[in-house]
């Protein structure tokens, strides 16, 4: 290990020092403003959300307008000679403007990623915390549910759901939400389990704190970092899984574009026209990176200074 930096806790004294009343302290910008990752990711995320909202005004073309004679035009950065000014990012296999589809696709991907993550997060966290905290029968019941869920292949559930309900945005969100909660549950269970025996939880119990209050105040902050990691991961998962579902006909209905769907569509020509998969792929990467950094930033804010 180069530098051989001993990494250790600064100890309580440091925290005490930092928390000293400071009449002489200069006025500084609030703490969150100085976290570059946080600001950067928030800005990127805001930009994506804005682009999604303003797609009708930003998009140079109707994202549904096809022109078979102009299909598979390359973007400028790939082949400046064949590219045309009307389609700076090229066109897809039906001659639809790729930039416009990317902008409109942001809407679907954001909606699906966010809400599917929220739904699965709520279910998974609740189950995991209950199982980890109460143990015993509750734990058995939850592991029964988790194992049942894990044993059911997503595709099978999706096929059945689409046959019964048909495909729509709401169905996609719910299907993904009900399918992706397992990681939340598993991680929350073991994290809660670990935290449960700690003295401060016992102490909180001993002084008669109500159980939900203990869970909310003591357990959640302790597992927040794991939670943020899983949440950002699941959001990316939801966005990508939507692509797979779209191909089964469960996803959003065409010609509505989503990034995941665009990635899947580009697969057929990825050996020859790699830019087609790279553009929506990069969009997903940027979105997920922003979500991750935002998660890290928020986490750093919630942990006392000097610790996180």
């Amino acid at each position: 290990m180069p530098g051989s930096t001993p990494v250790s806790a600064p100890g309580e004294e440091l925290a005490a020092q930092a928390a000293l009343p400071a009449p002489a302290r200069r006025r500084r910008r609030p703490r969150w403003l100085r976290n570059i990752g946080l600001i950067g990711s928030a800005l990127v995320l805001a930009a994506i959300v804005l682009a999604a909202l303003a797609a009708p005004w930003l998009a140079p073309h109707d994202p549904y307008f096809q022109s078979l004679n102009d299909r598979l035009l390359p973007p400028y950065f790939v082949d400046a000679e064949r590219a045309v000014p009307a389609h700076p990012l090229g066109t897809d296999n039906l001659g639809r403007d790729y930039l416009s589809r990317l902008l409109y696709g942001a809407r679907i991907s954001l909606l699906i990623g966010f809400f599917a993550m929220v739904v699965s997060g709520l279910i998974g966290t609740l189950m995991g915390v209950l199982a980890g905290y109460f143990g015993g029968r509750t734990d058995t019941a939850v592991s029964f549910l988790v194992t049942t869920r894990l044993s059911l292949p997503i595709i099978m559930v999706a096929l059945a759901v689409v046959s019964v309900f048909g495909g729509s945005l709401e169905v996609v969100v719910l299907v993904l939400g009900f399918l992706l909660w397992d990681r939340f549950a598993v991680v929350m269970r073991s994290a809660t389990h670990q935290v449960r025996g700690r003295e401060y939880i016992l102490a909180a119990q001993a002084i008669g704190c109500s159980v939900p209050r203990i869970l909310w105040q003591e357990v959640l902050p302790n597992v927040l970092s794991s939670l943020v990691v899983i949440a950002s991961y699941e959001m990316a998962q939801a966005i990508l899984l939507e692509a797979a579902l779209s191909f089964l006909g469960l996803g959003v209905q065409p010609p509505l574009p989503s990034w995941g769907l665009m990635v899947s569509e580009a697969k057929e020509v990825m050996l020859f026209e790699p830019w087609m998969i790279m553009l929506p792929g990069a969009a997903i990467c940027v979105l997920v990176l922003a979500i991750n950094l935002l998660g890290d930033g928020i986490r750093d804010l919630t942990v006392p200074e000097g610790r996180a």
């Binding site: 549904y64 096809q66 078979l68 004679n69 039906l94 006909g249 065409p254 057929e268 020509v269 050996l271």
Partner: protein, 505 residues
């Protein structure tokens, strides 16, 4: 300089891998497809690869020459109708199966009767369901009884693969499926579903109409991912792949050592319309002839064919492939691409503002999207209902489909009976339910005189186009990519005949 060396090294590796695995060296052929028959017995699968393998490892009494379209005696020396429902086959003497068993009239009778036995749970029913039974008259003569007078009997006879009767009786169907024995030009040397099926040339093959095979060994691999197939082809791990999309074909074409061939097939694409109003929709636009014609005019078939379907495809105007027996192209109504006319027809029908409709589909999504785009342009707001193939069939039969985008390969049969009667003969799949059409088609099916059949079918075909019951879209070209040293001729029935292929020196 260093990059040059590196590139040279890479090229050398590439070539080395290619040389080590390519087919010409050991006179073998490695081919791959995206699906495979779970059960290799001809009567127990319904995938195209299964048909291909059945041609390689088994034989039928007669063989249809893909070039001339002629029916030639194969396992049988001669074949004839002795009455409306009885076929008599004279079997070729001295044919042996891969296990050495002699194949004669008894095997034909045993095969037919065993496959008709419900206990054997045949899946590819259309190979056999036109027959009622078979009886061996002597060792070389067998009589097949048809369920009813059936015009295209010769065509169907080409798919009646003969299994070794003794083995079938002693081992049972399942054991035979695991250790298959046939009479074909190749014998199954290794059967490992999911991995590979290895066929080796059968040296005692009788030849017949198929002729003697040239390539020693055929290795079939199921590779579901097209990109992987192309990668294997480009590095010499495979010698032959098919079902390439036009964009893939275009890009593969320039590669060294690779030949891309497109071939017409008798598979067609169509949109079925709820002309009889079976969906029960109120104020159903599809029951209006003007709307059906408008839809026909609205779809830019030439444009889609040129840009998306690819080389070898042609615009289709009839509810059958022009190559199929009875599929007249004379006197039919053609609908050219004319959005203005489509709009006018819609306005005339009272749909000046267009209407909403569902289009159900299960394959070729980009094509469907292109069609939806065309329909939008004339005001028809089509919503895609993407389903599985079985749901598509089921829903169509249940009369739940408004517009159904489908494809039909007529099980490679060159006869209108395998397609038009299926869709317009008052069958559950018949969305038009037109008595005139259905009667004409059934009469044509039952007749056995070819000229008479032609005459009976023609008015039905004309009426279907005139009434615009369907939107015939285009024919489907198959695109193959292969090692350029392979001598391979595609055939329109979607059955690559590797027993006629060889390696060029």
């Amino acid at each position: 300089m260093r990059f040059g060396t590196l590139a040279a090294a890479l090229a050398a590796t590439l070539l080395a891998t290619g040389a080590a695995r390519a087919g010409p060296a050991d006179n073998s052929l490695r081919w791959a497809s995206d699906s495979e028959p779970a059960n290799i017995l001809p009567y127990y699968n319904n995938v195209r690869e299964g048909v291909v393998l059945s041609y390689l490892a088994w034989d039928a009494p007669i063989y249809r020459d893909p070039a001339s379209g002629e029916y030639r005696p194969h396992l049988a020396e001669s074949f004839k109708l002795i009455d409306d429902t009885t076929i008599e086959l004279k079997m070729r003497p001295g044919v042996v199966a891969h296990n050495g068993e002699t194949i004669d009239a008894n095997d034909v009778a045993q095969t037919v009767n065993a496959m008709l036995d419900p206990a054997n749970k045949v899946i590819a029913f259309n190979r056999i369901s036109w027959l009622k039974g078979a009886e061996a008259v002597d060792d070389r003569t067998v009589r097949l009884t048809m369920a009813k007078p059936f015009g295209p009997w010769q065509e169907y006879l080409t798919t009646l693969a003969i299994l070794p009767g003794d083995l079938l009786k002693s081992e049972g169907v399942e054991a035979l499926a695991r250790a298959p024995v046939g009479t074909g030009p190749y014998r199954v040397a290794e059967l490992s579903p999911g991995r590979q099926i290895v066929l080796e040339r059968f040296d005692k093959y009788f030849g017949g109409a198929k002729g003697a095979a040239s390539i020693d060994k055929l290795v079939f691999r199921r590779i579901p991912e097209r990109n992987t197939q192309m990668a294997e082809l480009m590095t010499g791990g495979l010698d032959w792949i098919w079902r390439l999309q036009p964009d893939q074909a275009r890009n593969l074409k320039g590669r060294r050592g690779i030949r891309v061939v497109s071939g017409e097939t008798i598979r067609i694409f169509y949109i079925g319309l709820d002309a009889a109003g079976r969906t029960g929709r109120e104020k159903n636009p599809l029951t209006d002839l003007r709307v059906r014609r408008a839809i026909n005019h609205a779809i830019d078939r030439p444009g889609i064919v040129r840009n998306l379907v690819g080389e070898g495809a042609q615009v289709l105007n009839t509810p059958c492939h022009p190559e199929q027996f009875g599929c007249t192209q004379e006197g039919i109504t053609k609908y050219d691409y004319d959005p203005a006319k489509a709009k006018a027809l819609l306005a005339e029908a009272g749909y000046g503002d267009g209407f909403d409709i569902t289009i159900t589909a299960y394959r070729e999504r980009p094509w469907v999207e292109a069609i939806i785009g065309n329909l939008r342009a004339v005001g028809i707001r089509a919503r895609l209902n993407w389903v599985q193939a079985d749901t598509f069939s089921g829903d169509t039969r249940a009369g739940k489909v408004e517009m159904g985008f489908g494809s039909w390969g007529s099980t490679s049969l060159y006869d209108v009976a395998a397609i038009t009667t299926y869709f317009f003969g008052k069958t559950p799949d018949d969305q038009a339910r037109d008595d005139v059409v259905a009667q004409a088609l059934h009469a044509g099916d039952a007749a056995t005189d070819p000229a008479k059949r032609q005459e009976l079918y023609a008015p039905a075909i004309r009426r279907i186009t005139e009434q615009a019951f369907w939107v015939p879209l285009w024919t489907f070209p198959l695109t193959y990519a292969m090692n350029e040293k392979l001598d391979f001729t595609p055939s329109a029935d979607e059955v690559p005949r590797f027993f006629n292929s060889r390696w060029k020196q």
